[in-house]
Amino acid sequence: MSKIQNAVIGSVRTVIGWVPAGWLPGGAPDPLIERRAAIGSQASRLDGPLKVAGQARFAAEVVMERLCHAALVHSTVTRGRLARMDTQAAEAAPGVIMVVTYRNMPRVGPLPLMGMADLSAVGNSSLPILQDAQVRYNGQVVAAVIAETQDQADHAASLIQVDYEREPARTVFEEAKAHARTPASVLIEKNHVSVGNAERELISAPHSVDNVYRTPGQNHNAIELHTVTAAWEGESLVVHDTTQMVAPSASALAKLFGLKKEQVRVLSPFVGGGFGGKGLWDHQIVAVAVARMIGRPLRVTLSREGVYRIIGGRSPSEQRVAISADAAGKFSALVHTGYSVMPPYGACPEQYTMGSRALYDAGSFEIVQRHVDLDIVPNTFMRAPGEAIGTFALESAIDELAHGMGMDPIELRLHNIAERHPLSGTPFSQHALKQAFDDGARRFGWERRRTTPATRREGEWRIGMGCATGSFPYVRMPGANVSITLRSDGTATIACSAQEMGMGTATVQAQHAADRLGLPIEAITFELGDSALPAAPMAGGSSQTVSIAGAIAAGAEKLTLELLRLAGNASPVAGLRPSEVRLTAGGIASTSDPARNESYRSILARAARDAVTITAAGSAPLEMFKFAMHSSSAVFCELRVSDVTGEVRVDRLLGSFDCGTILNPKTAASQFRGGMIMGLGLALMEETLFDERSGRIMNATLADYHIPAHLDVPQIDVMWTGIPDPRSPLGARGIGEIGVTGVAAAVANAVFNATGKRVRDLPITLDKLLTE
């Protein structure tokens, strides 16, 4: 990200700052905040019956004539050249159609990297894909075997022999730090922030902490494997993918293969978990290019090992957090700096300082992220990128400071909660972290915590409590489009290319559309997962719900206009302007005189129409620049640590969230819990073991990379303030990722409370608690 970008974003903020709020999206609160009926109800997932019956069709389950299969061969060295590739035995193996290497792979350009400048750029890696003899990271695809069946492809792939000319590789984090880069911006934020003289404050303050926290790499590990089926029909391309970027993938593929947008259709009705990992990577490019070359549909399904090899995860990090406070506990300095891996051919800056920029006031700030360049599969966004690990460092540090001061850690936090955005001074649209802490502490029984660590035990177990703040920014994406079709039988279909990977997108938007259009939820159908539908942005940044909600709101306005036109002069609503009516009870009614109304049925019947369809785009998300829009949470944990084995068992976990309106308490609770469980994994077990000698991932299986299993997961209590954000559609802010944040710190702080041992190096495994 560039200096130019900083200047552009900076001037947008300045200009928007002058514009009166009323002119902007969110200027007047969404009227549905007051009027909701279906929203806020405990609707079960509309796709539930299909999913529990095994009838939801996932990407690898499309039956197709003449389908062939691929197995990928991954490099076993980190950097070097392919000196010799013997593919003869593979080519002669039964069922093999072709072996593809850089020699016969069609020429395709690199993918433009995901970025802020061009929203159709969605690449996670800009490295060439099977285009030359160069190996750039360990696990890179060096060949693909295409065969009639998957078994035949897998077997033949095992027959390929590769000799490499090795070249020196950068694989050691510590060494690479010396050449770290300092980007000008991190996402849309200016990277380096320096307010006052934080280092001097640290020295002079009566209380301070200054420590380094380390977090390892992690992988998304969606249970569904990455899989894509590419089928050319003449010059048109149909792609059945499992992707969290349906429409953006279609545009990117069209560009890459020189096609018109209409010639590419990406279908992805169900995604078996994404978490940031299901984007556009090498295997889709191989599938599309090779399917065209062989003139047959081709399916590429990664093995579980393959997912670890070529789909990057969360970057490892090393973060310094230093905080100083005056005698009363007011922060005089907040320093958050550090290193994460981001090779120049990757797209994800692992924005771990975002929480430190938004949560607390301090007399001075020093914030900067540095990027370490390793020869490694490019890391990418993984659920709560940055914030998941940034809150670990920040919120551990606050706990350490509170302990040093002999102060309750909640009190210390509440003392420093920002009233306005601490760096920009912009007012928050809505912010109730204090209430989240108060409510959470009461429900959790925080007052039962012992302030002196290592004083509560039962048998071999030491027991402790901890808490932390969680944090996630509000994002609404530009470029969200929907169509609304209203039929004379009183039903409506809302359609856009959005993705369903477990968030309950269709369910919640059906609830929303029901309220927006004044129809019962049973009358609404929501279609998604198809790039032929109006384009929705990718699912990322917890933005999908509000982005689509904004488009539906815009659509309802357009529909109102169209209905008034169709209603004509004979209608009871004739002569009313769009601003004078609302859509309610299956029709249009005057806001001031609800008796003046006409049903959709009647309007359409008189106009002799079966249906009316409009398409609309959501407004530009300028509210994000006018206001500081940020969600936060208070996370509480109680756990036991075995004196004998060092094992940590989490007994209780509570999340108290401030995320605006909760649209569906049932699916929202699941989203929160799901995030918190990923946070538990982050805290206690998850680690992509990277061999710094070879540059190779050592635990590329679900047996060796541990994620929380049923017995690891306690009953998780979730609650929320539910206070609507007056500036966002429906008053909602995204909830898909915030659950992950704060959890690792709450666990680490509870471990300290239980044992007196401070672990600053995730995950908190048994060995770290056994050593003195």
């Binding site: 019956p49 494997l225 995604v271 990977m501 699941s670 990923m678 679900l702 049923h710």
Partner: protein, 168 residues
Amino acid sequence: MAIRVNGEDVPPPDDIRVSLLDLLREQMNLSGTKVGCNQGACGACTVLIDGRRVLSCLTLAVQADGKSVTTIEGLGTAENLHPLQAAFIEHDGFQCGYCTPGQICAAAAMLEEAAAGMPSYLTSDLTTDRIILSREEVQERMSGNLCRCGAHNGIIDAILEVAGERRP
């Protein structure tokens, strides 16, 4: 001989190396059975052979010769749900739904195991023939089925509800 899959006989594959998972998913297009690892680590491929749960990715199809295989499609349909399937919806025991068929098949067999008095690692009295399915017992017995969306609480709630209904 034949493999009885959801009540219908199918011939065992000619190639004895074909896994039960591939027979179901790739050859019979019974794609309700999922694949998350193909190496016995995730539980997504769980099906029942003569009522007992197996990981179909680690089972050769020919091992089911002469036996009866039940997949998620054989437990219930979207129109006619098995009690566990209905309880999963009620308790929101899934998000993406990919681990779900495996979880439900595993749960169905697990309830039978408990009813038959089979102890788990958490059962304190190994000689008992009456297993009380506490929350922890169910958690332990379901730990072979991973869920990355984090639907664990809902899954266990759903199973406990069905277990409660079955209790004499």
